[in-house]
Symmetry: C2
Subunit: 244 residues, 2 copies
DNA sequence: CATAATGATTGATCTGGATCAAGGAAAGAT
DNA sequence: ATCTTTCCTTGATCCAGATCAATCATTATG
């Protein structure tokens, strides 16, 4: 998978400043970790980390999409995060996680051993600062998602999801025009992200299609025909957006 | 309001190590900020911060309960956080917030000016580290709440809320026995926290009462009669808990 | 190329929780 | 003590989205 330009822009602010993701980072702090860097690939559906497992690595997503999810004893599951290229996996100062990390498409991660990475963080304040920013970004995203899960209608949920995808995958040099986009997960996985059932997701996607807001190229690929109408359908107000 | 012992314990790990909350902190790092310390009180219902407002202060809750909430244009609101005594308000490195902070009971905050506080954070790595821990704790809590909002039934939501209150307000020297507890907010506010309506909250509270899991002293005060049954009603598994 | 297997759609029905509506209880205010 | 106001409860009804049930499309497999 080609890494979109948008991710390179995003990565320029990244504490990892990862060569695989960011073209500008040849001279960055992580040079000292170069020897410990390793790429790992996961096939779609593969578990990347299980809940409770010890975090041996921190990583950044190079390509593909991974999800964070929680599962109840009776099988109900709720995704609590989406990891797109340039996103960071790791919890400074923590050994464990309380959710599963799963590859939803084929995923390539670039991993560093946790120990030397944390040593780096301790020694370089601005990296620590950047990690704090990332944590606060995640917290903001989680809170936006709480509003979605608690109060939005099915249509608003689906529209919000599509708008988020459009925002994160938009090519910045494209002048507002939307291009073909890919749903990075199945209807079932989307429903677990949105707190819905897969049938409802399917119906709402078709409703948006019938309203000429989106068009499907095939089941996984679609185009946004009317970005303004899509935004109206999210229920969000005009200024404040997700993951600002 | 007397500050429960449990909060003093909690506060011993707090970066703020606030005298008002923590008896052990006479000699802590915040001595240098002593001159800028100020107590502020808010009556129940008062706004503490509006969305978009500039954060001039960071603060810790000394007494009372405050909430973080998001509101949609049409009035639907979702609480995205609950602030109990010893909790911290502030976003290191950030000027703004994207939610409202409101006092739900009378609240006393202990405030520091943001600038000197951030200077302190920059200069003392372990304070920065502790703030990162707090941010990750909040993130974990937010993700647990996402599971609640997206997948739990009304009964599970209400039971989870009560169990969380019991955990956070339990007096540690009490040997498992539950004492009288207080609902820190109205049915309407609880419904906004749980993604329900106030009628549903009322009905579920009464259902738990009828099941002899809780008993009401009056509308705002209750007792947990059967903590195990309350836990069963949350839908959570036995080990992993909220806000660990 | 037939044949599973997986994922998506579409329809019919059901139901948990929302909505609408009417009192009741407690706490201030006059 | 009476009147408001605010908060809570309880009942009746409704409906968005869940559930149940086929069927279809697409991709993998022998």
């Amino acid at each position: 998978m080609k890494i979109p330009d948008s991710n390179i822009v995003r990565c320029s602010e990244c504490p990892i400043r990862h060569r695989a993701v960011c073209a500008r980072c040849d001279d960055d702090e992580l040079g000292i970790l170069e020897g410990m860097k390793s790429y790992r690939t996961f096939a779609a559906g593969d578990p990347i980390l299980w809940r409770g497992e010890e975090l041996v690595y921190v990583a950044s997503v190079v390509s593909g999409v991974a999800t964070l999810s929680k599962t109840m004893e009776d099988g109900r599951t709720q995704m609590v995060g989406l990891l797109l290229p340039s996103d960071f996996i790791g919890r400074p100062g923590r050994q464990e996680i309380d959710f599963d990390v799963t590859a939803t498409t084929d995923v390539t991660l670039c991993c560093f051993s946790r120990r030397p990475f944390e040593k780096l963080v301790d020694e370089t304040p601005h990296v620590a600062q950047r990690l704090m920013e990332l944590a606060l970004d995640e917290l903001d995203a989680a809170r936006d998602w709480m509003l979605l899960l608690g109060r939005k209608t099915a249509r608003e949920k689906v529209a919000t999801f599509l708008e988020m995808l459009a925002r994160r995958s938009r090519n910045p040099d494209a002048d507002g025009t939307q291009h073909e986009m890919t749903l990075p997960m199945t209807r079932d996985q989307i429903s677990n992200y949105l707190g819905l059932t897969l049938e409802t997701v399917s119906r709402q996607l078709n409703a948006l299609k019938n309203d000429k807001i989106i068009a499907f190229i095939d089941r996984r690929n679609f185009e946004v025909l009317n970005l303004a109408a899509l935004h109206d359908a999210t229920g969000d107000d005009n200024d404040g957006g997700m993951i600002s």
